[in-house]
């Protein structure tokens, strides 16, 4: 009898702490995060882990939720802060540094945080995107520069996102600050307002409800969106068209480079696993999966891109950039000034 009890308790003990129980890792992301099922499964199998993703709103909202839950973090890893909000994340101290061995493969231009709390994962370009069919059928030249946008022939053609509620909107505002300088950028925006600029709350509305080049077939043939849209439209079509229906305006400072970062949240109880996950996001396997899932570019060099990317996506040659410090100092003031100039 005693032996039986001992046997049962050993079995129970083994079942409770046996190796078959996978460790749980929670990853907090913004709403646009996507990843391949097989890629994540591979990570889970290799590390005997179960990864749960918590989507927490757009880029700004997700970060603020992470900051708000700093004392009792919702997750172990947070992905999705970009260079426009990097300073806020670092100032709030939500991350713990991780000197990932994978960082050696990543060019220095992406490593904006020397303390290695926020590690670069991907890059993309916010640009002015145009509807090819509209400009062809109206015999209208596609605008080439930011200055073109305030010309009368483009009156009422541009739709953008509100910088106060949307990441691409904010990034485009930064591009104009870089190009025209502070406070001259406000003159540009006042002219753009006179020229019939349409402002909507977020990317989904801008792209699907207002932009004429998307399936929503809205009224405006110019939209503030991403340089990878031409590729995305081809990859996301039922039957791939022979050419992409949309193109990108590639003038000086019409595009602004966005870099997204990942970091390990302070207070994680799964530090080793979290570090492995960060390494995994910087690995060739995840970096190659990313473009087709999120329509962004890898930060690791020499990754094979999907065919549609090499064929249709356009890489800006003269993108605008501002340092995280400049953005941190100016951001909220620029948004406020923009709101007063354009909306009120």
């Amino acid at each position: 009898m005693k032996r039986l009890l001992l046997f049962i308790s050993i079995v129970l003990l083994l079942a409770a702490c046996g190796p078959q129980q996978p460790a749980a890792l929670t990853v907090m992301t913004h709403d646009s995060f996507a990843a391949g099922d097989s890629v994540i499964k591979a990570f889970e199998q290799t590390n005997n882990a179960k990864v749960t993703f918590v989507k927490s709103g757009d880029a700004g909202a997700a970060l603020n939720k992470a900051i708000l839950s700093k004392d009792a973090p919702l997750a172990d890893v947070f992905y999705g802060v970009d260079n426009t909000f990097l300073s806020r994340a670092l100032a709030a101290g939500i991350y713990q540094p991780y000197d990932s061995p994978a960082l050696k493969n990543i060019p220095a231009e992406f490593q904006l945080d020397p303390t290695h709390q926020a590690l670069p994962v991907d890059q993309s370009y916010v640009c002015v995107v145009y509807d090819k069919a509209y400009f062809a059928s109206h015999n209208l030249a596609v605008p080439q520069t930011l200055e073109d946008l305030v010309k009368p022939e483009y009156k009422g053609l541009l739709v953008m996102e509100n910088p106060a509620t949307s990441s691409p909107g904010l990034v485009f505002l930064l591009a104009t600050v870089k190009h025209f300088g502070d406070p001259n950028y406000l003159g540009f925006w006042k002219n753009l307002r006179q020229n019939g600029l349409t402002v909507v709350d977020g990317w989904e509305t801008a792209y699907y409800t207002n932009f004429s080049g998307s399936s929503g077939k809205g009224p405006q043939p110019l939209v503030v969106s991403y340089a990878t849209d031409p590729a995305a439209e081809v990859m996301g079509a039922q039957t791939p068209p022979p050419d992409s229906p949309v193109g990108v305006v590639l003038g000086p400072d019409t595009c602004f480079r966005q870099i997204e970062f990942v970091g390990i949240l302070k207070g994680t109880k799964q530090l080793a696993l979290a570090q492995k996950f960060v390494d995994f996001m910087l690995s060739a396997q995840f970096q190659a999966d990313m473009p087709g899932q999120m329509y962004v570019y890898p930060v690791v060099p020499n990754i094979t891109l999907p065919d549609a990317f090499t064929k249709y996506a356009q890489i800006p040659t003269q993108p605008a950039t501002l340092s995280p410090d400049e953005i941190a100092k100016g951001r909220d003031g620029w948004i406020q000034a923009w709101t007063d100039a354009v909306l009120h």
Partner: protein
């Protein structure tokens, strides 16, 4: 009316003793309140006040901030009052139509007008733009017919769009709440007035309308609170030029991380809701009306006079134009090839297609966030069923206590309405700091849905419970009926319709709920609105088509759900 009030007061003491006789002794008031109040404490008051305490800071009370808050508050009130009046303008005749007349297609029309209530705003915005946008059908037709070069109707980004969307969303509340009361009105009162020589108009103004006042006030309050706290409609259809308190809270808290200002705004919103709730409960309390349970043949009838026929046809056409047309855009888009219009760039692909539906079943990009449509529908239905059960379980005891109000109830009544008007964004942040990792447990979703649905359920059940004539209970009890039998034969026939109404509210609220669900769901078990949003957050015609297909499934499911709930009958109950 005056005599009725005094009658009501005179029987109060007598009523209480009756209640003691009918309700088992262990089921006393504190017990009735225990579960509903604990629920609200844990899921509403604790997280809400925790985030307010965490964020609020006296230094935020500057003149600039206060001026900002006042201007936002003014617009919030302004658009809510206008929206509520417009909603009543459409809703009251509709309530009359559905409660009094029988006509072909009535059940379907009534179910369809309830669908907007649960549609996610992204989908509604898409529907309205397809109809009224610069390149929508109406503008294109007008431009073609009159040779105009610019779209004549400017819709998106105007106050008109906000008002129309609010009417579109909330008319069903008026139809349901007022229609329910109208249906239960004792026809003898109207008959008596008529037999004394009153004209139909006079009967309506002097008898019917005063009797309907509590339900009209109840409906107006719910509509007003929804308009007052409007968020998605303002963002998507009103555009960035308009901002309600809730939108300002969202922008301040989640974009600027200005938590003190967000807390100030949330506090103002909560205070307004409280004041409004207290006023409302006082008004409703003073005009309680007894109605009689009866067979329905006496009030639902076919149109007789030409005037009545005209009324029915005109109103049906209006409802069709207002509710069915914008929704029709979605199923239409879900079966049209949207890569069309690219004639000069590729082969013409116009025509009908089922591709978007079949694509729903394929994980096109091998994404970890892929949702099989059947699973999303199943999750949605499971959550909705759990929400019905939970909200009825919590709603019945609370509504029973409120139906026979004592001093405690006078204090608790307005408090029960608070979750409806309190800032949802703030509550969401409260959840984050209060529950931490618990946020990802799946059963938190139906609990959150119940929190949203509960005020509706209580408001719908309470008038019905209060309307049960004690005479009937006394008669039944004195004839030897057991308490259960009294409940089954007296209470339930009166309650049945209100219960179904309450269940419909809970069901539709749960199916369409997006804000709380997006905060709480794990990627493994998303609901249909979450799936729609996932498709819409990626570029490409296929994603857009799939979002429309998913929205169509949601609409079909809701219509079917409301249809089933309304058609549910108990054997021998003989309604309709």
């Amino acid at each position: 009316m005056n005599s009725m009030i005094s009658h009501h007061d005179g029987t109060k003491t007598q009523r209480r003793s009756n209640l003691r006789a009918l309700v088992p002794s262990w089921l006393n008031r504190p017990l009735l309140w225990f579960f509903p109040l604990s629920f609200l404490l844990v899921l509403f008051f604790y997280p809400f006040f925790r985030i307010l305490a965490y964020s609020f800071n006296v230094s935020t009370l500057t003149t600039d901030n206060l001026n900002f808050a006042i201007s936002v508050l003014f617009f919030t009130f302004y658009q809510a009052v206008l929206s509520t009046l417009l909603t009543l303008l459409i809703g009251l005749p509709s309530a009359y139509l559905f409660a009094r007349f029988d006509f072909p297609g009535k059940s379907l029309l009534r179910a369809l007008t309830a669908v907007p209530f649960m549609l996610p705003t992204v989908v509604v915005a898409a529907g309205f733009s397809a109809l009224l946008g610069a390149r929508g059908w109406i503008n294109l037709t007008l431009m073609n017919s009159f040779g105009l070069s610019a779209p004549p109707i400017q819709f998106v980004g105007t106050l008109g769009a906000i008002l129309l969307a609010h009417v579109f969303y909330n008319t069903t509340i008026v139809t349901r709440v007022v229609g329910n009361a109208l249906y239960h009105l004792d026809p003898k009162l109207e008959q008596a007035a008529r037999s004394l020589g009153a004209s139909s108009r006079r009967v309506w103004w002097n008898v019917t309308l005063p009797l309907l006042r509590p339900s009209i006030l109840a409906a107006s309050l719910l509509v007003f609170l929804f308009d007052f706290t409007s968020f998605g409609v303002i963002l998507l259809l009103g555009g960035p030029r308009f901002s309600t308190l809730e939108v300002a809270i969202y922008t301040q808290a989640l974009q600027f991380l200005n938590l003190p200002l967000a807390a100030l705004l949330a506090f103002i919103q909560l205070f307004c809701t409280l004041v409004f709730s207290i006023l409302y409960t006082r008004v409703v309390e003073r005009s309680a009306v007894q109605t009689a349970p009866r067979s329905a043949e006496s009030n639902v009838r076919k149109a007789k006079t030409p005037n009545e026929k005209f009324f029915i046809i005109a109103l049906c056409l209006l409802l069709f134009a207002l509710f069915i047309l914008p929704m029709f855009a979605l199923p239409l888009r879900s079966v049209s090839r949207l890569d069309a219009d690219r004639a000069q760039l590729g082969p013409i692909q116009t025509g009908l297609t089922m591709d978007y539906y079949s694509a729903l079943f394929v994980n096109v990009r091998g994404s970890i966030f892929y949702v099989p449509p059947f699973d999303a529908a199943l999750n949605s239905l499971l959550y909705a069923s759990a929400t019905i059960v939970l909200s009825l379980l919590l709603g019945f005891p609370a509504a029973s206590a409120l139906a026979r109000p004592g001093r405690l109830e006078k204090i608790l009544d307005p408090i029960l309405i608070l979750p409806l008007g309190a800032s949802a964004v703030t509550l969401g942040l409260g959840f984050i700091i209060s529950f931490g990792r618990l946020l990802t447990v799946p059963w938190l979703v139906p609990l959150a849905h119940t929190l949203v649905a509960l005020p509706f359920v209580i408001r719908t059940l309470q008038p019905a419970l209060a309307s049960i004539p004690d005479r009937l209970r006394q008669a039944a009890a004195s004839l030897g009926a057991s308490p259960f039998r009294v409940w089954r034969n007296v209470d339930w026939p009166i309650l049945r319709r209100a219960t179904l109404s309450a269940a419909t509210f809970a069901f539709t609220i749960s199916l369409g709920e997006f804000g709380a669900t997006s905060l709480l769901t794990r990627p493994d078990d998303p609901t249909i609105p979450i799936a729609i949003y996932r498709f819409l957050s990626q570029p490409g015609g296929l994603n857009y088509g799939q979002a429309m297909a998913m929205a169509t499934i949601l609409m079909a499911l809701t219509t079917a759900g409301i249809f089933v709930i309304e058609k549910m009958r108990l054997p021998g109950a003989g309604e309709f």
